[in-house]
């Protein structure tokens, strides 16, 4: 009886034998992360637990990163005080800390070399599935879980079932991993993979650059997935090595592993997709949308704020201006991406076109960050991951979700636009 990647990684961390879906295991966690939208309560709880206890220890605190990304910079006093507490905690216990402007947790963890193939990583964020792009089991948990990891180095897991998704063929120019996930959302529905792990395989995955693979694993959170695992290849190893990660321990599924479902997507023929307002699984081909005006274009977040996203946007906007009445905000996912984009001259192109560039962080993903609040009747097109009513602070606004290519093409024309119809929309092929 064979095993999936999820069963193997969890089993490897819980005694060594592969685990079986449905089983509950206690596993050794390699690395943990807590961000500023969750740290407040957790750090208070840890202080309370440790108060007056001579033998209270946090033996795994140095393998727990603290990331100040959601409130970057803090929009209110409460968040600012959480930041103060996080800095004090990191100083006292020696935890790695990523401060305001360093970037989004899911970008800075891999960039910081904190994980490698075969690892088990938890973070206080649903998009912790991102680490699956590096063949690591990454999953979202809460402050209590990360506290337990800091105290014991272990955590309990229900071993998930797995859906195997085969991506057949490289994506066309102008089509991105974002479009693959949006297509999957239209097929499975939001939460259609609830409790389950995904395994993405096939020539469509092999052809993707690491940036796009990270989108694929990240955006699986909208499908409700517990983890979204890719096999490792030479691209993975080269990226991890360049970021000083530990030696990879790649994990592959067995040929006779058990899956709850097998899905094949003809990615070579997939057109760009867009999620219409309010529902992330209300998805259509971008070319099916006509005369849909937009006023705001947002590029950023842990889903699509990476260098390739910004390069694609700049390729479309080079030497051009945003359509009249359109505002555009670009937020790189990390300081490293910010620096690279700046050195490549991408910010000059975007700024000249009429866009604004913000410091790295969660940025315009959700209103609580304080970076963008929509006005009444405004239509926003965003490369973020969620678009439910009121996500940007106003139930009387609309959020449409698409790739950075779709967002930039739409910013250029003022209408929801298929990037394949504008110059520069095929950037990846030209590069």
């Amino acid at each position: 009886m064979g095993h999936t990647i999820a069963e193997k990684i969890l089993g490897n961390h819980a005694g060594g034998k592969p685990a079986t879906a449905g089983e509950i295991v206690v596993a050794d966690v390699d690395f943990a992360m807590i961000h500023d939208a969750r740290a407040g309560n957790a750090l208070k709880m840890i202080e309370k637990l440790g108060a007056g206890q001579a033998n209270f220890a946090l033996p795994h605190v140095k393998r727990t990163a603290l990331v100040l990304d959601h409130y970057s910079p803090p929009p209110n006093m409460e968040a600012a005080n959480t930041h103060v507490a996080m800095r004090e905690f990191a100083e006292k216990h020696g935890s790695p800390i990523y401060d305001v402007g360093d970037g989004i947790c899911h970008q800075v963890l891999p960039e910081g070399g904190h994980l490698t193939c075969g690892d088990l990583v938890v973070g206080t964020d649903t998009h912790s599935t991102t680490y699956g792009a590096f063949n690591a089991f990454g999953t979202g948990v809460e402050g209590t879980d990360v506290s337990a990891v800091m105290m014991t180095g272990k955590l309990w897991f229900r071993v998930p079932d797995t859906i195997r998704i085969e991506l057949n063929g490289p994506l066309q120019p102008g089509v991105w991993a974002k479009d693959v996930t949006l297509h999957m959302l239209s097929q499975l529905g939001a939460e259609g993979a609830n409790y389950q792990a995904l395994e993405y395989v096939g020539s469509g995955v092999s052809a993707m650059a690491i940036d796009d693979r990270m989108t694929l694993s990240n955006h699986a959170a909208e499908l409700g997935a517990k983890a979204a695992l890719l096999e490792a290849d030479e691209k993975t190893f080269a990226w991890l090595k360049a970021h000083n990660a530990a030696a990879p321990k790649p994990v592959k599924a067995d040929a006779d592993a058990t899956y709850t479902r097998r899905i094949v997507i003809d990615t070579a023929k997939l057109p760009p997709q867009v999620a219409r307002q309010h529902h992330i699984d209300d998805v259509v081909g971008v070319n099916e949308v006509t005369n849909q005006k937009i006023q705001v274009a947002l590029i950023g977040t842990c889903t699509n704020g990476r260098l390739d996203d910004i390069r694609q946007a700049a390729a479309i906007l080079k030497g051009r201006k945003l359509a009249k009445g359109v505002r555009m905000i670009v937020t790189p996912a990390s300081r490293a991406i910010y620096l690279a984009a700046m050195r490549e001259g991408l910010f000059e192109i975007l700024t000249a076109a009429g866009a604004s560039v913000e410091a790295a962080g969660c940025g315009t993903c959700v209103n609580i960050t304080g970076h963008y609040i929509a006005g009444d009747n405004q239509v926003v097109i965003s490369s973020a991951n969620r678009n439910f009513k009121g996500r940007l602070g106003n139930p009387n606004s609309e959020i449409w979700i698409g790739s950075a290519a779709t967002v930039a093409a739409s910013a250029l024309t003022g209408f929801v636009t298929d990037a394949r119809t504008v110059a520069g929309g095929d950037w990846r092929a030209a590069a």
Partner: protein, 166 residues
């Protein structure tokens, strides 16, 4: 685990606890305050009518999407004895167990507000006698029962630092 008995209080499908049972969109408001207004937008007056020991009966994907564990603290404050729903958002499901609140996956069709409901988590049974409803559900795994019995993950680890989940 003991049998849980209570009066049913009913919510619909796809209720996000981040939106309806947390301070995410009410910065500065504390748990005690939110316990008096939780779920008002999907069921006006829900929290005010909720009595200690009532059972929250919900539709599919209760606690969908991102889920703060503060929601479970608020529900403890409201006096929620257990939650029964056909499915839960993954993160909410985990948070409930980690914070000592029993979550039972069970078809909830036909159950109405005010119905006396009886849950046997160990045997895997949900009964609403007045409506002739007896539904078999997967019994909660022993490890989950151990966490719930301790009152959640941290109280469990304080007594069992070696993670002996049984």
């Amino acid at each position: 685990m003991n049998i849980i008995k209570g009066s049913a209080r009913v919510l619909g499908d796809e209720v996000s606890t981040d939106i309806h049972c947390s301070s995410k969109y009410l910065p500065g408001k504390d748990t005690a305050y939110i316990a008096t207004v939780a779920f008002d937008q999907v069921s006006p007056g829900f929290a005010k009518a909720f009595k200690k020991g009532d059972v929250l009966v919900a539709g599919k994907n209760f606690g969908i999407n991102s889920s703060r564990e503060q929601a479970v603290h608020i529900m403890h404050q409201m006096g929620v004895a257990a939650i029964v729903a056909p499915s839960f958002g993954r993160q909410f499901f985990r948070n409930a167990i980690n914070n000592g609140l029993a979550v039972i996956e069970c078809d909830t069709s036909g159950i109405s507000a005010g119905d006396a409901i009886e849950i046997d988590p160990s045997a895997g049974r949900v009964v609403v006698a007045a409506r002739n409803i007896t539904r078999a559900v997967p019994p909660l795994p022993a490890a989950v029962q151990a966490l719930l019995a301790a009152g959640g993950l941290i109280p469990f680890l304080q007594k069992n630092p070696d993670w002996n989940l049984g």
